[in-house]
Every structure is written in C-alpha cells, then in structure tokens.
C-alpha cells in the first residue's frame, strides 16, 4: 500500500513538474496514521481504502494551505507499546504534523495519553471506548466514531418500547463488551425500572463456546437478549442459537451487527428481526452518501464497509482542521478541532467542544435477508448528538485539565 502511495505521489509530482504549478513545489503536509492492520484486517482493509479516497479528493481540490496532504501509515500490531513507538517515529522521523487512527481501545487510549504528553493533536478514528473522551479524556485527543455508549443508547429506546422483563446479556470479555453491558443496564433500568437481568455470559474475545453459551442463555428463559458480540464470535453465536432454538420468541439486540464487516459473512443466515446498529450502504440515498458511494465504487470496484466511511471521514476531519487552523501549529489545530463542523458521508458532524466527541451518528434498524444476503430493514439514522448523555453528566466524568 505504501509503495502504491509512493507511486501515486511520484506520479503526482511528475504531473506537477510538467504543468509547472507553483503550489505543488512545496512538500506535502504529512499526517501520521497508525492502525492494527494485520490484527483486524476485515475492518481495516476497507478503512485504508477510505483513507486513500479521501486523500485523493482533498488533493484534487487543491489540498490545504496550498499544499497537498499525504497520509503516512504504520502498523501498530495491535500493541500499545508498538503504537507509542510508531507514533514517535511518525512525528520525529517522518515529520508528521499530527496523528490519526487506531482501532482497539487499549491502543487508542495509549496513543491518546502519548498525544497529551507530547502535546500533539490525535484524532482517534475507530476506538469505541467511552474513556477516550470521558474518564481519560484530554485536551489533545478527539474521537470520530460513535462510542460504545452512543451505539448502546441508540438501541435502548426500541428495547424499552418492547417492555420485556427478563433480559439475558452476552458480551466479549474486554472493555468494549463490559462498557456496552454497563451502559445498557443503566439506560434500560432508567426507562424501565422493573427490568430484570437474568443471566450474563462473558466469553473471551474470539473464543466463544457458542453452543454452551447459547444453552446457558436459553436455560435462563429470557424474553430478550442484549449482545455486543461481533466477528467470528457473532457468527458462531448466531448459528448455535438458531440450531438450538434460542431466538424463538426472544427479541435480540446486538450493537454493531448491522455493519457489513460483521453482517456480510452471515449471508443467508443473518438472523431475521434482530435490532442492530450498522451501515445499510446500498439503501442510503442522501446526496453526501451517494457522492461517496459513487466515488468509492468507481475507484475500488467494491462496495464500502463501515471502515471505509470511518477512514474517509477521519482524513476529511484532519484536512478541515488544518484548513480552519490556517497553520500546523498544535495549539491552533487543537483550537480548530473544537467545534469543527464538516460534512461526512453520514451527513454533517461536529466535534463537540465539551468532550471532543464527534456527533457522527449510526444507522439503527432490524436485520433481514434478501437474495441470500443479510440486510438492514426498517432502518433510520440516529444523529450522534441525540445519543449522548447530558452536558452535566459529561462534565462530571471528564477530568478538568
């Protein structure tokens, strides 16, 4: 990929020379990007494509501050120690102006803390952990994606509407699953005080014994299930649950399960009627999404996944921040990020001054099957700003700098 980037950059430089444009003579603005490419390839391959598309568009429109932008990518190996090292390499050797990227929560948090220490801007693209903007939030870190709390909060209204009494919960045993569960229990209890959580299963990430888990959930005789499983764990759970009749007469809520990354592998077995958050890319007809979809499909001959939208929007955010700051000075960039408003394929978002969380939303709907493929039906878009706790609560959680 890097070599391809270099080739592109080289080709661009040649074209520039022959045209003799003065703006191009300046070196491009480098943005340091790191992610766990080899650990989560299913999400991050499309993400990388999203980045490439955004860079191309920004540069085709003349770049920022009269210069092109270049995203320099590194693999952080899914390991916070390595991530901090490559972050340092990006800044001091590559001369990157600031940092974007990361996927797992622990890596995101480590880089956020590093950014604070190093006093450089960090736009966390993927990590879902609530802590990165709340408990561990800092002045230098902003986050794009709707967090675990937000995705959970988007599903709670539907859950409360069903007025089911007995809930069973299953989640991957690490921070993401734990916070999703905690947020769900808290929010549902507020709306429906008589709710009862009858059992909780916390299988290790990637190693669920799906048969035993499905059986244990069925034994608790729940009316509804809340799950935050994804990836292979989700596929295994769906199959075992269907074979064992776990989902008969039971409503299931599963955050993220509507994202193409996790939905598409299920094919015709996508569980009908599940309430999910996700990305029904084929059915979104807003002009900003159509533009993105057309450009993406033209460039890659493939459809976008959620990762593509995240990668694309991260780079656009970075470019807009530079434009608004009018300089690469860190303090000016930080100030520009606060309240920065921009258009993404999901519509207009704002990086909230109060906690540095973007108001990017997500699509909420129910799963169905069409032509042997899993789809989202009856979906609606939920704006991120409507899925966040009150300002007073946020202020209580976020440390004062």
């Amino acid at each position: 990929m890097l070599t391809r980037n270099r080739l592109l950059a080289g080709a661009a430089a040649l074209v520039a020379l022959s045209l003799g444009g003065p703006a191009i003579a300046q070196a491009p603005i480098k943005i340091g990007e790191m992610n766990s490419y080899k650990v989560f390839p299913a999400f991050l391959d499309p993400y990388k494509k999203g980045i490439e598309l955004a860079v191309e568009e920004v540069n085709a429109a003349g770049g920022v501050l009269g210069r092109k932008i270049e995203v320099v990518s590194r693999d952080d190996n899914g390991n916070p120690g390595d991530a901090v090292r490559v972050a340092e390499e990006l800044l001091s050797r590559e001369g990157a102006s600031f940092l974007i990227g990361t996927f797992p929560s622990n890596v995101g948090l480590a880089v956020a803390d590093f950014a604070k220490q190093r006093k450089v801007l960090f736009i966390a693209a993927e990590p879902l952990t609530d802590k990165i903007v709340w408990d561990q939030g800092n002045a230098y870190t902003y986050r794009l994606r709707p967090s675990t709390y937000m995705q959970t909060a988007m599903l709670v209204p539907d859950a409360a509407k069903l007025a089911k009494k007995r809930w069973a919960i299953v989640y991957p045993n690490y921070e993401y699953g734990q916070s999703a569960t905690a947020a769900f229990k808290k929010l549902l209890k507020e709306k429906q005080p008589d709710v009862e959580f009858v059992t909780e299963q916390a299988p290790p990430l990637g190693k669920i014994d799906a048969g035993a888990v499905a059986q244990a959930l069925a034994d608790a005789k729940p009316d509804a299930i809340f799950s935050s499983l994804f990836g292979p764990d989700l596929a295994k759970f769906v199959r075992e649950g269907q074979q064992r009749g776990l989902f008969k007469g039971v409503e299931v809520f599963n955050i993220l399960a509507g994202e193409p990354e996790y939905l598409d592998p299920l094919k015709e077995e996508a569980p009908d009627g599940w309430y999910v958050t996700g990305y029904p890319w084929a059915d979104i007809k807003t002009p900003e999404h159509t533009k993105f979809l057309t450009a993406y499909q033209a460039k890659f001959k493939d459809y976008p996944r959620l990762g593509s939208v995240v990668g694309y929007s991260t780079v656009i955010s970075a470019a807009e921040a530079i434009k608004k700051a009018g300089s690469l000075d860190q303090e000016k960039l930080i100030a520009a990020m606060s309240g920065l408003t921009l258009t993404t394929p999901f519509g207009v978002i704002q990086y909230r001054p109060i906690d540095h969380q973007s108001t990017m939303g997500a699509y909420v709907g129910r799963l169905g099957v069409k032509d042997g493929k899993g789809i989202m039906k009856e979906w609606r878009f939920v704006d991120g700003k409507d899925a966040l706790p009150s300002d007073a609560e946020v202020q209580k959680m976020r440390p004062k700098n």
Binding site: A42, V84, E89, L109, Y174, E175, P203, A216, D219, P265
Partner: protein, 625 residues
C-alpha cells in the same frame, strides 16, 4: 442448573473436546517422535478450515461434497505438513534443543499472510453439514445433530490411532522412536522417512480437526494462535506423547469450560463469582493444578533422555573488555549523531535485550526453558505503573521497587516450576503467566483491566528521550552485565553442571533445585526491571506485556541470536526489534517477510546468528592459517 442442563452442557463439552483432541493428538505424536514443539500446528488447523470451506464451495453442498471436502482438506493439510518437514525441519534436527520452535514460529507468520492473501480478510462462514443441519431434541432441549456426530468422532479417531500405533509396523516404530529414537536409528530404521510420515499423520489430524469445525466455526485468521495454546495445554495435561492422555485432557477441559458457562454467575457468602469469566483461563488453571500434582501429565511418563540430539553446548566465551567498551562507546554516542527516533528505538532494544538475556540466563546455562517469561516483564511493568499511579510513589522509587515485586512473584512461581523439567516446566511457566495475565485483564479497579494503566511517565528530569535512553542503557546494561557476571561465578557453574548432568551434580552434594530456584528468581527480577524501564518509556501499560505473544517474542530473540552464545540474546533482541520496525513500515505483507527472514537465518545459521557468525569466523581463520 437442572439435570437436563447439566446433561446438555456435558454434551456441549464433549463436542468441543472432539476437535481439540484431534489437534492435540497430532501435536503429541509429532512431539513424541521428533521432539519438536510445533508452534505451527494451529496454523495447520486453520488451513484445514479454510481448505474445507473452499472445497465445499467447489464440490457442492451435498453430503458427498461436504464429506469429501473434509477428507480432502485434511489430506491437503497433511501434505503441507510434509512440505514443512522436508523443506525446513529436516535440516535442523541436530540444532540445539528448541531451535526448531523458532522455525515453526516463522512458519506461523508465513502461513497467516498466505491465508490472508489467498482467502482475504473477511471471516468465511461455512455451510451447515448437509443432512445434519437440524437439532435433536434431548430432554426438551435441542442439540445440533452435528455435535452428536462430533462426540462420536473423537473416540473413533482415538481407536483408529490406537490401532495404528499398536497393530502396525509403522505404529511400533513410532512407539519405539517416542521412547528412544537414537536406538531406533541405531537399529537401521530410516528416521527421515519415519519423521516425514509422522509429520504427515500429525498434520492430517490437525487439518481434520479444523475441517470438521467448518459447520461450527467461521474460517478466520485468528484461529491459529487461538488453537495452538489450547492444543499445547491438552497435550501437556494428558502427558506428552500419550494419545489416550490427550483424549482424557481434551474431555476434561472441554467439559470444564462448558460447565463454567453453564454455571454462570453465582453468589457465595455474599460474593458474586462469575464462572463465565473464568473461561478466559480455566484450561491454564487445570494445567497448573495437574502439573503440580503430576509432573508428567495425567498419563505421561518421564521423558527419555536424549543422547545425541545435539552436541553438548560449548562453554561460553567471555567478551573481551575492548569489545565491550567499543560497543558501549558506540551506544553512548548514537544519540549525538542520529535522529531523535533512533534513541527511542534503541530504548526499546535495550529493554528487550535485558528481557532476552534474563530468559537466556535460565534457558541457556540453567537449562530451564520458560514459555511464560513475559509474566515477570509484565509484572515489573505493572508494579512500576501501579506504584506510581495508585501508591503515589515517586517514579524513581517505583522503578527500583518494581524488579523486587517481579522477583517476589518469581519466588512463588519458581518454587513450583523447578520441580519439573523440560517441556513440562516450560508449560507450567506458561500457565503461571496466563493466570497472571487473566488476573490483570479482569481486575479493572486496580490494573485497569483490558485497557491497562495510563499516564506512567518518567519524572521531569528524565522526560527527554535521550536522557531516558541513557537511563535505560545504564539500568539494562547493568542488568545484563550482572547476569553475565553471575554466569561465570561458582553459582553459574553450578547451574551449568545441573543442566549438563543433573545426576552427577546431585551426587556431589549440590542441592540443584535450590540453585535453580535462585536462578529463576534472579532472572524474574531482572525481567521485571526490563519491564519497568519499558513501561516508563511508553507512558502506558496494557495486558499485552504479559501475553503469550510477549513470551514468544522473548524466545524468538534468544533463539534467533543463538542460545549457546553469551551475546546471542542481545543480538537477537536487536535484530528482531529492528526488523519489525523496518519491515512493518515498508511492506504490506510484513509478517510473511519477517517469517521468511527468520527461516533464512534458521536454515543458514542453525546455531543462531551469533553462533553461526562465530563458526564462520573460525572457519575463515582456519582457512588463513
């Protein structure tokens, strides 16, 4: 739990045990005969799944298509096993013990990237087994019919292997080689053919274990490492080389996991205990328990002594003062001439160098292989971080107390470990490391759980990266020097005596275990120092510092540099860290590139880099004379 749920969970456990048994049986066979700790066995399992997926798509979702795909995929994986044996392992059977592990580690990296290239990143969910896609009603609960078939396949394969081993000439040779392979060789048996055939059978079993999972598990790229740890545990709990033991252990672990899930959360005396969360570590708890009570696993026998597997390790040569001073001077000058990042990379390298040397200290001179050395590295890192953040100690104090904490854990773990030997010892160290890891991973309120601890930055006077590099160099350098010095003290000679001839050492009145225990503690404490220095250089600590991956990195560094040389581990740490830094930056399939580079080193320098270069230098000098 009602009676019916107990019964169903029992069936679930048995179904899960089936594939685990197949993989472990293959691993056990291969280890028994070739003494190779085959790290790539999980990759063969993964290939079995991917192969079955593709073949089913080709042959059609009919019962015939499905079952031919499963069998063909297993056989194809068998051929991959044969290729690995012929192209790589055959060339290094006479290398120092465990060196083959390095080769199989490299193969894991290569296979993973090949699978990514061939099948893509998306999880591949296979079809249900045609004809067996429904559930059977048992006591009012539904159990997939395929699970019942799996439960039957386990004992059938066990019986087949048993017949093969006891009723055929090949089986007799395998059993003989497991007991005494030199003797088998001396009697005129073609060992090369025997090893290749054993590899084929072992790989077929791994592939079959994988292929049979296709209706239950999507083919994905994380399977290799997810399975290999469990397979090792089953093999060791059952007793190395014992197929019956592997079956018993697979059943125990499979059923134990199912019951942990079935029991769920219970409240005892007002304390809530989540058995469901225990599934994170239950197999390692079982292994620790079994090994403490039965040092050779449930049905294993003491390992037969190896006579000529490799030449006895040559005595270490002391590096000369001038050599050491030149390097020290170079390391001191680097920050003045190179850029800022070089100092940062070097800080990583010196931390890992001390980590590798401390592992080498117990592996090389003391002959105790540890698969869980990251425990002490990670505990040191966490101790440093927690003393700073939670106890409010100054950073300098935290840095100096951390190694003592790691050492204290080594006192406890080491006491159990030195009672064992060989791979059993190595696996017990791994069990303790995994138990530590799971506690750190779960104990949110203290360790920050899966996220870890943040804001672990050094004091202001050390904040500059160059200054911190000098501190790291000073502390880790002193640690390395101390360990090297100890190797040449009477204490070090006692350790080497114990490694080369435990019987004679005991006979002259050496209380070997006590010395080995002390060595374990010293190595643990210094690994802890490395971890503490590492933690402050990163500003954060996460459970990955205690993970299996970190332990494996340590082993790779030691073996890469050469376990029979003094400076090998340092060179190994430097090369491995540097390689990852450079290769990961410039190539898309960097894992495969690192794997291939390691394979190249393995094949060119079966003594490790330093050992190989020394041999080359020697030959050159002889040629000139």
């Amino acid at each position: 739990m009602t009676f019916s749920s107990i019964l169903i969970q029992l069936l679930n456990g048995l179904a899960a045990a089936s594939s685990l048994f197949l993989v472990s049986a293959g691993l056990s066979l291969i280890f028994g005969v070739t003494r190779i700790v085959n790290f790539a066995h999980g990759s063969l399992y993964m290939l079995g799944l991917y192969g079955a997926y593709t073949l089913i798509e080709l042959l059609g979702r009919t019962p015939l298509g499905f079952w031919s795909a499963v069998v063909l995929s297993a056989l194809a994986v068998g051929l991959v096993g044969v290729l690995i044996e012929l192209l790589v392992l055959r060339r290094i059977y006479r290398a120092p013990e465990l060196f083959q592990l390095l080769a199989t580690f490299a193969i894991v990296l290569v296979i993973k990237d090949i699978a990514l290239f061939a099948w893509g990143a998306e999880d591949l969910v296979g079809p249900r087994a045609p004809g067996l896609s429904n559930a059977v009603e048992i006591m009012g609960k539904r159990v997939p019919a395929y699970d019942l078939l799996l439960i039957a396949i386990g004992p059938v394969v066990l019986a087949a292997i048993w017949l093969l081993l006891t009723r055929t000439r090949w089986g007799a040779l395998v059993r003989a080689a497991t007991q005494d392979r030199e003797m088998v060789g001396a009697l005129g048996v073609d060992q090369a053919k025997l090893f290749t055939s054993v590899f084929f059978v072992g790989a077929v079993l791994a592939g079959l274990g994988g292929a049979l999972q296709i209706p239950r598990e999507p083919a994905n790229l994380e399977l290799d490492l997810a399975v290999i740890a469990d397979a090792f545990v089953v093999t060791v709990v059952g007793g190395l080389g014992s197929i019956g033991g592997a079956f018993l252990a697979a059943v125990i672990i499979g059923v134990a996991k199912a019951f942990c899930i079935g029991i769920g959360t219970v409240t005892w005396f007002g304390v809530e205990i989540s058995f469901s969360k225990l599934t994170l570590v239950v197999e390692f708890l079982i292994m620790a328990l079994v090994l403490v009570v039965r040092p050779y696993g449930l049905l294993g026998r003491p390992q037969a002594a190896q006579r000529v597997a490799a030449e006895p390790a040559p005595p270490f040569t002391v590096p000369s003062w001038s050599f050491a001073l030149v390097w020290l001077a170079l390391l001191l000058v680097v920050p003045w001439v190179a850029d800022r990042y070089t100092a940062i990379l070097l800080t990583d390298i010196v931390c890992f160098a001390l980590f590798a040397v401390s592992l080498h200290f117990i592996m090389g001179p003391a002959g105790m292989v540890s698969f869980g050395h990251a425990a002490y590295f990670g505990i040191g890192a966490y101790a440093a971080g927690l003393l700073l953040k939670r106890a409010g100690l100054p950073m300098e104090a935290a840095l100096l107390i951390a190694p003592l904490v790691a050492g204290a854990f080594a006192i406890v773990y080491g006491w159990f470990c030195v009672r064992l030997s060989g791979v059993y010892l190595a696996m017990l160290t791994l069990a303790f490391a995994q138990i530590s890891w799971s506690i750190v991973f779960q104990w949110d309120s203290v360790t920050g759980g899966s996220n870890g601890v943040f804001g672990v930055w050094p004091s202001a006077w050390l904040a500059d990266k160059t200054v911190y590099y000098y501190l790291a160099l000073g502390l880790c350098g002193a640690g390395v020097a101390l360990l090297w010095r100890v190797m040449f003290s009477p204490f070090g000679f006692v350790l080497r005596a114990g490694r080369d001839s435990p019987l004679r050492a005991e006979a002259i009145g050496i209380d070997l275990r006590r010395f080995q225990w002390a060595a374990f503690v010293l190595a643990g404490a210094l690994a802890g120092l490395a971890g503490a220095v590492y933690a402050f250089s990163k500003g954060s600590i996460s459970p990955s510092t205690i993970s299996i991956a970190q332990s494996t990195d340590g082993l790779v560094m030691v073996l890469l540099g050469g376990v029979e040389t003094l400076t090998g581990p340092v060179v190994g740490a430097a090369i491995f860290t540097w390689l990852r830094d450079v290769v990961a930056r410039n190539t898309e399939f960097w894992r495969a590139v690192i794997g291939l580079v390691i394979l190249l080193i393995v094949l060119l320098f079966p003594q490790g880099l330093v050992g190989g270069l020394k041999a080359l230098a020697m030959r050159w000098r002889e040629g000139r004379a």
